[in-house]
Amino acid sequence: MPVIAAIDWGLVLDQTIQAGLGVDAVVFALAAIGLNVHFGYSGLLNFGQVGFMAMGAYGVGLGITLWNLNPYLSLLVGVGFAIVLALLLGVPTLRLRADYLAIVTIAAAEIIRIIARSTAMRPITRGAEGLNEFAGDFYALNPFNPSISYGIGPLQYRGNFFFIILVGWIITLLTVLFVWQLMRSPWGRVVKAIREDEDAARALGKNAYWYKMQALIIGGVIGGVAGMVQVIAKATVQPDTFVPPITFFIWTVLILGGVGKTFSPVVGSIIFWGLLAFTENMIRQLVFEGFIPSTIMDANQVGQVRFMLVGIGLAMLMIFRPQGIFGSREEMALDDR
């Protein structure tokens, strides 16, 4: 088969591994851990996780560019922004049925993006251009030499990137530990009880509304941290990186790994980005080498295939294996309330 011979499998594999452990994988792992706190443990249908990411991102960006804070304080601003969003979303919707939260969160995420990129907000957010001069303060903390590549085997990243990815994975692992402990605690048991049967939890004297609000805040802050890691790695806060499909990517990551399991978002993210990079690079090479004629697919369309794969992957997972790779069916036996 000439097709097989022409594809540079080594390159495809390198790209796959790099993507599977790269910045996107870190960011989506974190965001999916946050979503897991929402959906997996508390049954909250949050379809605006990207909104929390945007809040974290703009918090850290504005902290430095607008208020001239030091890097650590501006990270706190990002956390604060995410908490504010959680409160704004939670107050109207957490007393209602789950699908209302879904509609409001997806709307809120779009509101944030549209406002952030609007001309009226240009003096603060720099509009569609985005915030740019803020990441330097973080890279100043980088102990690695930016002009040297670090890593093992195919995993080679430049110093700055290596720094962000390393810090990102450390944060991710700490977050996993935190969520693991949290869900073993009495608090976690109450939240899970509310997920299973809100009325029963209320009958036992638990304030379901307030517990759900806390869960929304915790998951939202983790989402905000994901946004911070992303914008520091990319050194720019662009409003149009926070579009709704990102939320659906995060959902796919979560469901792929398995809902309601502590470590599954991390594995889900690594597999998700590995798979995407693998298929995309393979298709790109097939197009480039002319095995797929350009009348069927051109270079622009390769990127669109990614979204189709995510869409069909999400639907198929939900139909055929809603518990994902590691989840158990009981954790997914959610119904609306």
Binding site: V91, I103, V104, A120, M308, A333, D336
Partner: protein, 454 residues
């Protein structure tokens, strides 16, 4: 349909060429002007919000200076809106537009950007771009007039009617099954794109060898016939989506939340299939695109908008009659009201749900055609209006047909009239903020009943 992109070998190429020519004419392709030495040029046009044509702006004073502020020349734009000022040598030049010389009603899109800096290379003419807007664009807005309010109300009514067509289906599907269908926006896009397809290629024109056949087989059919096809296909799609995907899921007992996530997966899949096949550019239908507005009283409206609005009203009245008067309509309302009770009184619930999907698909398809006619044909329209549909449905009361209509009309009018007070780019934000507010004050919506929520 072939697996390729929308434009087929012959027709597709001619469409492409036509677009290129059009773009060149509009000055978007920035043709290199034959000119000795260096020069800077710009062409001032604005897009007429009604006809969507580019209108040149003449007699506007433009001055050209070096970066240090040394003025090299000044002139006014000609009848094509163009001005060309020769400069000496390569380098950076600053064009300054005098906003006071702009004609009445035309303003800079960004009022602060009266200058444009360009870099001229040796022997080349370099083009600068000024963004101009007609009408409500700039903030320099005089007081609110009755005419404006009426005009925007009519436009809002039109938008609300189109949204309502999609919203009724969404709301009835929710009412009968409890499912929030996030892929409903894609059903709207689907109607728009199938109509576009038939409008340009006819029934069989996609197959290259059939393109030469006379209409309606090849060569495209009139938009009215194409719209009918689109509605039929929309209905068929609704039927199939329920028969193939959601009816089996209901039989398996898949939870509603899982079904909701599945609709999201479907919506992404469909949206990017549309992008893949149709491409990212906005396009127009072949018929009835450029129309001049008629004046009715204080309000201006194009004939196509008037007619589509009237058809929408007729269709919605027909839906009302169907729901209120016929046995099927009663069954639909009964299932939406209380599924178990309906089932136990002998109504075939699954059949009713199937028909709700079918009607929902047809209405969404028709709404899509009208939106495409009123605005543009685009792959992304479904997602853009999905949140507005949600806003309308929640405002009116999730699960009720009339509530969805009332809510959509209010959302449509609200969005358009709000542009009197807030920038146009933020107009949808207002609608979404209202959505959140409704949930605080009256979560069951205007026409909903309290026990639906909770």
């Amino acid at each position: 349909m072939t697996a390729g992109r929308f434009p087929t070998p012959t027709l597709g190429r001619s469409v492409g060429v036509a677009l290129l020519v059009l773009m060149t004419l509009l000055g978007l392709a920035a043709p290199a002007l034959a000119q000795e030495g260096e020069a800077v040029t710009t062409t001032l046009t604005y897009r007429d919000p009604e006809t969507n044509d580019r209108v040149p702006v003449s007699n506007v004073t433009i001055s050209v200076s070096t970066e240090d502020g040394e003025v090299l020349g000044e002139g006014v734009t000609d009848e094509d809106g163009s001005i060309l000022v020769p400069v000496e040598g390569a380098g950076r030049y600053v064009l300054t537009l005098d906003p006071d010389t702009l004609p009445e009603g035309v303003s800079l899109t960004d009022p602060d950007r009266t200058t444009a800096t360009v870099e001229a290379e040796v022997g080349q003419t370099v083009r600068a771009i000024f963004g101009l807007t007609f009408g409500e664009g700039g903030p320099a807005r005089e007081g609110i007039t009755l005419r404006q309010v009426l005009q925007l109300t009519v436009e809002g009514l039109k938008l609300g009617l189109f949204l309502g067509m999609a919203a009724i289906g969404l709301s009835l599907i929710f009412g009968t099954t409890g499912l929030v269908n996030f892929a409903h926006g894609e059903m709207v896009t689907w109607g728009m794109l199938t109509a576009y397809f038939f409008n340009f290629f006819g029934l069989a024109g996609a197959f290259g060898f059939l393109a030469g056949l006379p209409p309606p087989l090849g060569g495209g059919v009139n938009l009215i016939i194409a719209a009918l096809f689109a509605v039929v296909i929309g209905a068929g799609t609704g039927w199939l989506v329920d028969a193939w995907i959601f009816a089996p899921l209901r039989r398996r007992g898949t939870s509603l939340i899982s079904q909701l996530v599945i609709t999201i997966g479907l919506s992404i899949l469909l949206r990017y299939i549309f992008l893949y096949i149709f491409g990212g550019n906005n396009r127009f239908f072949r018929d009835y695109t450029a129309q001049t507005a008629m004046k009715i009283g204080l309000v201006e409206i194009t004939p196509k908008d008037l007619i589509t609005a009237i058809i929408s009203i007729l269709v919605l009245v027909a839906v009302g009659v169907l729901l209120q008067g016929t046995k099927l309509g009663k069954a639909m309302r009964a299932v939406a009201d209380n599924r178990d009770l309906a089932e136990s009184s002998g109504i075939d619930v699954q059949r009713v749900i199937r028909l709700v999907w079918t009607f929902g698909g047809a209405l969404a398809g028709l709404g899509g055609v009208f939106i495409g006619l009123s605005e543009q044909v685009s792959w992304l329209i479904g997602f853009r209006i999905l949140l507005l549909i949600f806003a309308g449905v929640v405002l009116g009361g999730l699960g009720t047909a009339y509530g969805a209509l009332v809510g959509s009309l209010l959302v449509g009018i609200g969005i358009q009239v709000s542009t009197l007070f807030i920038p146009i780019e933020l107009k949808n934000v207002g609608a979404l903020a209202v959505l959140a507010l409704v949930l605080v004050i009256r979560p069951q919506g205007i026409l909903g009943r309290a026990e639906r929520v909770g």
